[in-house]
Amino acid sequence: MPAMNQAEPLTPQPRPIFEAHGLTKDYQMGEVLVKALRGVDLELYPGEFVVLLGPSGSGKSTLLNILGGLDTPTTGSVRYRDHDLSVYDDAALTHYRREHVGFVFQFYNLIPSLTARENVALVTEISDNPMTPEEALKLVGLGERMDHFPTQMSGGEQQRVAIARAVAKRPQVLLCDEPTGALDAQTGVLVLDVIARVNQELGTTTAVITHNEVIAGMADRIVHLRDGLVARVERNASKIAASALRW
């Protein structure tokens, strides 16, 4: 009978985990209408490490937010496996985020009144099969600083807590929005190394958005965005280890 469970066809190109078609997003910024996405088509595959590269205003954050269920597209469709995210209501999106997605933000977004351990626990407490906060923090190399508050930690440490918080629930996808944007190069490399390790060790599909082209070197694929459109997609023949990145 175990054969029944492996009914999924084994094809050289696995089924995409994300499929986006004709995504557009408009939003009002004060008195200005911003067309952040103008028709994006994109597929992401299980376990891959994708870098979304583009200058500021190219729509990469908007795209990531829509993939992560933080926002909904104005038009177009986005599917996560069998879920049509573009028709989800708030409650369904909340459920989706809780079950499947880990986020890392440029400015960490830690809860200032909670320690590192508690910030991670905030997420593990509402997950079905999480790591312990301690495991997650050890994974990012912060086993020693679990009881420190955000203000007692450096930017790099805070970002690693944010990564621990994102991966502690063993999400299928890890979405990182400029994770090194607020960090110096040396610390940035450290943080990217953690993200790469999570991608490899846990097999988590990882999307990192950045405007830093150097980071593209560590990706399986690079999606270039410009003016709310996908300009081109590249596949890296040989990935560079995060620790070897310099900028």
Binding site: N65, R98, I126
Partner: protein, 787 residues
């Protein structure tokens, strides 16, 4: 503990200053509510229990004289349960410790000791032994005022005969909770008291053996009081009955019910206002607090917390603050309520006090607070949670600033950049600014409501005793006397001027409306006793017809020109008619006034007087009192100074305590609002201000931007608050009108100044706290993090 709950506690600790300020506001609201309502509840419960256990009668009648055999016929009236016949007489006393004239009401006790109605609560000693004409029980407050104890002796004049009396006990009676000398508005236990003596002995002294001149009744459950009263009147008419009346018209009871009603009005107004304002502030403050956590809310949502989780989290935070306030307020309210009830118990000489917090009172206060807190939170959290997390995490779009109205008016070139920032910010956040302004103004306003009664009392005293009743001494006779008595009074030492008056107890009636009071006949053009109109101008007495206190005019629903029926409650009890010729402004009591001769004509009597107003040289007071004691026809002497003192004492002991507490609470509320507004403004704008510091602005300059805003709001709020407070005072005064008082709204400049000062001091203190924080603003940290 869950991580989210830990966040709750830490957030609470982090905002402890503000949380405490909010809790204080809630505490004051809840505290006032519970203090007022628990006191009122205690007084009412005590009164009811006292009346029931000591069998306070439900109908009363005085008469000239009836044989005891009539008792059975009274008993047989439908609806009558019990009858107690008795002898009641006004007496004069000579107290060894006190030179001034003292009068008392002597009431008989059944010789068998079985008090069917109006039972005494014996405080000390015992009841008089049967047949002993020299033993009396004295009302406790009178005994206390004269430091009398069982065994003490003093002399009384009963029916013109001087007689030594021995005090054998002191007691309280439900019939005389308030012991008021006829004509007085306030108790004066040094000069007037109630005492009790055996029926036989008192009857003998007044030639009423086997007869009675007073009776009290209790009614069967569900009996028609009015028909029983009518039957009593029919039966007693031949015996000089002066008109039976129900409990609601009994003097002590009426005084008490008026007082309780006034207290009830205060108890419904003050706490309502305080709770309302506290709830409003809570709402404003909480919603701004939550709005500032927009980014944290977005983060929680990004990780899969639902809107419900987020809302519940913030509700818990708010509930903690509210619960802190409710708990503190309940404790404070109970403590003050007990204190106040004890004061009242002493003031009213209740034998005991039933104090309990009614669960409903607590529930109302708690529910109102929680509701306000929850409503404020729900709205704010909902607004933050309803945003898509991506949107909530983005910096808010640059606010749409415009040139302010002030600038458009052409004043721009006189305004510095920082000043423009202040004004534009105020204008852009118009609603928020307005709410803050309103909050400060309301707090300022309720300070006035706490204080206005003190000003008002001063004014009432000035009008009543400085402009209207200007005598030094008033003298009343035992029976109406010939006008010749005027000359006797004029001849007394130290008497400078005498004006006589006639007072007739009456029931005034206009159709369905009637009122028991007295008509005073006074000499026109008098210097001592003057009637004033609404503008405090002297009203000339008409040659005919009656003037009524404006309030009485309203009770009877009459206007000048209407005809009024006058049922005289003395002598042969004739019923006459007269015309209402005008209304006079009086703040205390209600009466009718006529020209002396006109009243004599109405009564179809000769030039008869009931007493006189005297202005005297105070150096002769003691000698005068001595002379009055020797005049058997003088029933009572009242000194104006004493009336004023009594008035002040009553005010101090009752109403002013409330208002004192209320003003302190109001000041706390004012502080709570201003402090919170300042702190929130600081948090909301610290990034912007830090950026300015980086650009080279000094601490003083950025303080000016932030505190200037608070300053402008405070300055605008003060006049608005004073104006609103004025209206609140009018509302309170209007709601408190009753037969005893009509409270005018008088606010002296010092009161306005005080309210304004409290607000200003709160603002300055809050400004100082904020300034200290501005000085410690961490420029780098602020600029490094996201918006």
């Amino acid at each position: 503990m869950k991580a989210l709950d830990k966040k709750l506690w830490r957030d609470l600790w982090h905002m402890r200053g503000q949380a405490l300020a909010i809790a204080l506001v809630v505490m004051c609201g809840v505290g006032t509510y519970i203090m007022f309502l628990s006191t009122l509840g205690a007084l009412r419960a005590t009164q009811a229990s006292y009346y029931r256990e000591y069998r306070f009668a439900e109908a009363f009648v005085s008469l000239k004289r009836a044989p005891e055999s009539l008792r059975q016929r009274l008993q047989d009236i439908t609806g009558i349960d019990r009858v107690e016949t008795r002898v009641v007489a006004p007496i004069r006393l000579e107290m060894p410790d006190f030179p001034e004239p003292v009068t008392a009401l002597m009431v008989s006790l059944p010789d068998d000791g079985q008090q069917a109605l109006n039972a005494l609560y014996l405080r000390e000693g015992r009841l008089p032994a049967p047949g002993r004409g020299d033993e009396v029980v004295v009302s406790t407050p009178f005994a206390q005022a004269h430091k009398l104890k069982p065994g003490d002796r003093f002399t009384a004049t009963l029916n013109g005969r001087r007689q030594p009396l021995t005090l054998v006990g002191t007691a309280l009676s439900p019939e005389f909770v308030q012991q008021l000398r006829p004509g007085a508005a306030f108790p004066d236990y040094k000069r007037y008291g109630v005492m009790w003596m055996g029926r036989q002995a008192l009857g003998r002294a007044y030639d009423l053996e086997g007869a009675f001149n007073d009776a009290a009744f209790s009614l069967l459950r569900g009996a028609d009081a009015q028909s029983a009263i009518d039957r009593i009147d029919d039966l007693l008419k031949p015996y000089g009955g002066l008109g039976a009346y129900a409990r609601k018209d009994q003097r002590s009871h009426r005084f008490l019910s008026e007082e309780f009603q006034q207290l009830g009005t205060l108890a419904s107004l003050f706490p309502g206002m305080f709770m309302g304002i506290a709830a409003f502030l809570l709402n404003v403050v909480i919603s701004r607090q939550v709005a500032m956590q927009r980014e944290q809310i977005a983060t929680l949502k990004a990780f899969g917390y639902s809107n419900g989780d987020v809302i519940f989290h913030y509700l818990k935070l708010v509930a903690m603050i509210a619960v802190l306030g409710i708990a503190g307020g309940t404790a404070l309210g109970l403590w003050l309520g007990k204190l106040l009830s004890a004061l009242y118990m002493e003031f009213y000489h209740f034998p005991y006090l039933i104090f309990a917090l009614h669960p409903a009172t607590f529930a109302e206060a708690a529910a109102a607070t929680l509701l306000a807190a929850v409503a404020g939170t729900l709205f704010a959290v909902w607004r933050a949670a309803a945003l898509r997390p991506a949107q909530a995490m983005r910096p808010e779009p640059p606010a749409r600033y415009r040139e302010s109205v002030v600038e458009q008016l052409g004043l721009k070139r006189w305004l510095s950049q920082p000043t423009r920032m202040i004004i534009r910010h105020l204008q852009r956040r118009a609603l928020k600014s307005l709410l803050t302004l309103l909050g400060i103004a309301l707090a300022c306003g309720i300070i006035l409501t706490g204080l206005f009664q003190r000003d008002t009392v001063g004014y009432m005293l000035h009008v009543q005793y400085g402009m209207s009743q200007r005598e030094d001494i008033s003298v009343t006779f035992t029976d109406p006397a010939s006008r010749r008595a005027l000359f006797d009074l004029q001849g007394l030492p130290g008497v400078e001027h005498v004006e006589v008056f006639r007072a007739v107890p009456v029931r005034l009636r206009n159709g369905q409306n009637s009122y028991r009071t007295a008509v005073r006949g006074v000499e026109s053009g008098g210097e001592i006793q003057r009637l004033l109109d609404a503008d405090l101008r002297t009203v000339a007495l008409p040659q005919d017809g009656i003037l009524l206190t404006d309030h009485l005019g309203r009770i009877l629903n009459v206007k000048p020109g209407d005809t009024l029926e006058v049922e005289v409650l003395e002598g042969s009890r004739p019923v006459r008619e007269t015309t209402v010729v005008g209304l006079v402004k009086e703040y205390m009591g209600v009466s009718g006034y006529m020209e002396l001769a006109a009243l004599n004509r109405l009564m179809r009597e000769g030039p008869v007087i009931s007493g006189a107003y005297l202005s005297v040289d105070s150096a002769y007071l003691n000698e005068l009192f001595q002379r009055f004691k020797e005049m058997p026809r003088v029933a009572g002497v009242a000194e104006r100074v004493q009336e004023i003192r009594n008035f002040n004492r009553v005010m101090d002991e009752t109403m002013l305590f409330f208002t004192y507490v209320a003003s302190i609470f109001a000041a706390i509320i004012a502080f709570g609002v201003i402090y919170n507004s300042a702190r929130i403004a600081l948090t909301e704008r610290s990034r912007e201000l830090a950026s300015l510091r980086v650009l080279g602005f000094t601490r003083g300059e950025i303080s000016y931007i932030l505190l200037g805003e608070l300053g402008i709001l405070t300055i605008l709020a003060i006049p608005l608050g004073l104006w609103m407070g004025n209206w609140m005072c009018y509302y309170i005064a209007h709601s408190m009108q009753n037969d005893l008082f009509r409270v005018p709204v008088i606010l002296v400049p010092a009161t306005y100044a005080f309210a304004a000062t409290v607000v200003l001091v709160s603002a300055i203190f809050s400004g100082m706290v904020v300034r200290r924080r501005l000085d410690r603003l961490d420029l780098i940290a602020v600029l490094k993090t996201a918006e």
